[in-house]
Amino acid sequence: MRSRAPRGRGGAGGTGLRAAALVVAAGVILGAWWLLSLVVDSPVLPGPLAVLVRMVEIGPRILLRHAGASLGRVAAALVVATAAALPLGLVMGRSRRIDRLLAPIAYLLYPVPKIALLPIVFLLVGIGDAARITVVVLVLFFQILVAVRDAARSIPSAYLVSFASIGGTRLQSLRFVLLPAILPELLTALRLGTGTALAVLFFAETFFTNYGLGTFIVESWMRVSYPDMMAGIVSIGLLGLLLFVALDLVEHFVCWWKHRSTR
């Protein structure tokens, strides 16, 4: 047999190296922050230790509640945006006719900064969480749509011919061919989208709400409580990291073939 060596980043050694690289990167970031705080020497930029102490003090009572609200909104937006964009992207990717009809609309709307629609969304949807989630959904929707459409379009025809030849119906091809084929691109779009989603959510949370990391950071800033403000900023960063790592793990599990030589 002339099998190739297993590819990918799998294996205990690879995972250990990755974890070590992440620890080193975190150390570099914290070191740079600490040095910058020494150079600036201003209460506006407290050092990492002071912020860590403050996070421990207010974490369980205050930060977790705000982070939970933000996480709930982002998670809801990820689910709604995926549920809406995935089927549409698949249809556009596999049907030239529908793509010709809808692609120009997506092309024109994609570059519009969705955050600019926030006032309209507040007026139409109300000032509750639904409005904040809607704005994040609008951002994620187009990123997922474009990624899924392009992935569905580039599925090799050999997959579909061979699937039909072994008796697969069009409905079965959705489960056995189309969805698995676009999964890597979908998860990449979600991982890239979470960064933008958190940025948009931060802004949307500065209006008409008492909970969420966005409102906590701005409110701390207004109180001139810089350690609190930095604790909020670090928390929103950690929230982004958590989502990124969670999606990375999902990708590692469901797209096993990209990382391991056996299931």
């Binding site: 047999m1 002339r2 099998s3 190739r4 060596a5 297993p6 590819r7 090799p156 050999a158 997959y159 011919v161 061979s162 699937f163 039909a164 030849s165 072994i166 008796g167 697969g168 119906t169 079965q172 056995f176 061919v177 698995p180 084929a181 999964l183 797209c255 096993w256 073939w257 990209k258 391991r260 030589s261 056996t262 299931r263």
Partner: protein
């Protein structure tokens, strides 16, 4: 017995309506135990012939039957092996081989057992749990053959199955296909660009030419020999040369 009866296949142009048919009024039979090797230039209609036999293309006129029953798309009696393998990387080797049976309603145990014995037959049993992406081209084509073979088809269709492989791997797979077809002598059509391959594996050889395409059969006096013995024999080279001359004559005509 595969039977094409006065078959016509044309790809309609959505703007200008029907175009010249790929083939018209084509009649053809392939009996169990026969391998019809079809050679022809690129774009002459070989793949269209194969897809029609697989039921993936509906003829505009005439019928395609296997043992007197019409062939429909996804017909379990028909196995199709493609040049690009058509294996799914998100399934293991074993899952790929079992997939066809699962789609036809077999239980996981039954489809798994059938997959194991088909993998055994193509010499891939030890790689059953592997990802498709870790396999070489030759190994992937063995898995594709196993997937087809696991369904115990009555008709085996091969669309330039070895043209993406290096010479040595191609010879291995030609030997394997010959062995499989000797053990289970079903009707088979092999579409190929290679004259040598047509002589090695075809019990009958047909040249596809013209527009609409016609099939002109040419004798293969060495068809009874195994490819592993045939490759070094003088009569093999003579037969290939004769086939090439006939191919060129028909091309000029």
């Amino acid at each position: 017995m595969l039977r094409f009866t006065a078959c016509t296949v044309a790809y309609p142009d959505p703007r200008s309506g029907p175009v010249t048919p790929v083939f018209a009024d084509l009649s053809l039979t392939v009996a169990p135990g026969e391998t019809l090797a079809v050679v022809g230039a690129s774009g002459c209609g070989k793949t269209t012939l194969l897809y029609s036999a697989a039921g993936l293309l509906e003829p505009g006129g005439g019928t395609v039957t296997l043992d007197e029953r019409r062939v429909a798309g996804g017909d379990r009696r028909v196995g199709l092996v493609l040049q690009q393998y058509g294996l799914f990387p998100w399934f293991t080797v074993r899952e790929n081989v079992a997939l066809g049976l699962r789609l036809h309603g077999a239980s996981p145990e039954r489809s798994g057992k059938a997959a194991d014995s088909a993998l055994e037959a193509v010499g891939m049993a030890e790689l059953a749990r592997r990802s498709i992406l870790t396999l070489s081209g030759g190994e992937q084509q063995r898995v594709a053959l196993a997937r087809t073979w696991a369904m115990q088809p009555d008709l085996l269709l091969m669309d330039e199955p070895f043209s993406a492989l290096d010479a040595l791997t191609r010879e291995d797979l030609q030997n394997l296909v010959h062995t499989l077809l000797r053990e289970r002598p079903v009707a088979a059509i092999l579409v190929t660009h290679s004259m040598e391959e047509a002589v090695l594996l075809g019990t009958r050889i047909a040249i596809m030419h013209g527009s609409p395409a016609q099939l002109t059969e040419t004798p293969n006096p060495v068809s009874s020999a195994a490819p592993s013995q045939l490759r070094t024999r003088d009569d093999f080279f003579h037969t290939v040369a004769a086939l090439r001359r006939r191919f060129e004559e028909l091309g000029r005509a």
